[in-house]
Amino acid sequence: MELYIYGIIDSSGRMVESIRGLEGADVYNIPYCDIGVVVSKFTKSPTQNTTKDCVLAHEEVIERLMEYFTVLPVRFHTVFDGRDGVVSLMQSYYKDFRDNLDRLRNKVEFGIKVIWPSDKMKEHIINTYKKNNKKVSVPGDSSNKRFMRDKFEKHKLDEDFQKKADKFINVMDMFFSKFVAEKKLNRLRTENLLLDAVYLVEKDKQANFKEAFEHIKSAHQGFKFLLSGPWPAYNFVTLPKKSDSLKDSGQEDLFDKVIQHRDLVGADKI
């Protein structure tokens, strides 16, 4: 019998309340020492079951669990071949799971994305250059030197563009960082996408974090902001080693940072 895994929790006890998971199956906890793996019985093959409803069902189970436990959310469609496989997983990973559960206790994940007016920024940099009448240090008028001069101008423009981006990101991040335990920042994933970040926030600091977001948003006219969350801490679960049981089961990416299911419901797209 296959078992569908939703997450690892910091309890070896029974479910506090009845939760229905995928295919309407009962969700229950398989204990291992002082932690547990939350699963439900599963009959369909994963490929048959990738629908929006399943994705939402998976997410809902995790969020219900989060009301009572610290949860390491497992990647959507993680299916193990029976209880033995799950126990073997716990044997290999117990300490890592325990460490992660301790680290992520009472914390949730927020995503922040920022689009900046990159064209205007470039225009501003060019105008500043013209205003300051900065000379480019490639004299001469041969085609090779003209080529080098153009390249050098572009190089300086790119450099200033990056510096400007860093300046904005540092200011924003400084505000958010006051209320976060951990963070992962991606700068300029595209020319327009100035910041694509995930922050791990303590539950009792959520309001402060959102306030900081609103403050930054109102202070940056012309920028576009997106705040998402609170989510389970998908991006902050770290596993240092890969277990053979995971390799055998084909589930090497137990905690997928791409967050497939959020992607499917559309949330991760934005």
């Binding site: 689009i115 085609s143 090779n144 190089h155 576009k224 997106l226 969350g229 419901v265 797209k269």
Partner: protein, 113 residues
Amino acid sequence: MTLNGVVETDFPEEFIEEMEKTDDALPKKINANPENVEKGLAKLVLTLIELIRKLLEKQAMRRVEAGSLSDEQIENVGETLMKLENKMEELQQIFGLKDEELNLNLGPLGDLM
């Protein structure tokens, strides 16, 4: 069914567009089949050449900025870089590859282009 997590933005379309651009730049799978294997290989090789070309160009710009290149050296470097760039454009045309297709994720350094 309601999720606790919410997405707040006044500009969902713009964010979807930008995220799609990042997906395009970093395909999760290599699309290799007998029909396009030549193009796939060319893409891989040209991406690596482009990486080296960009590094050369960056180094040259640093030296121009530092003023450590003589007039003659600037002339020579300019000629080399220009020829390299032209050759790359030519090869991209032959294999039908666009600039944005020649990309690499350089880990903490970000994307090549």
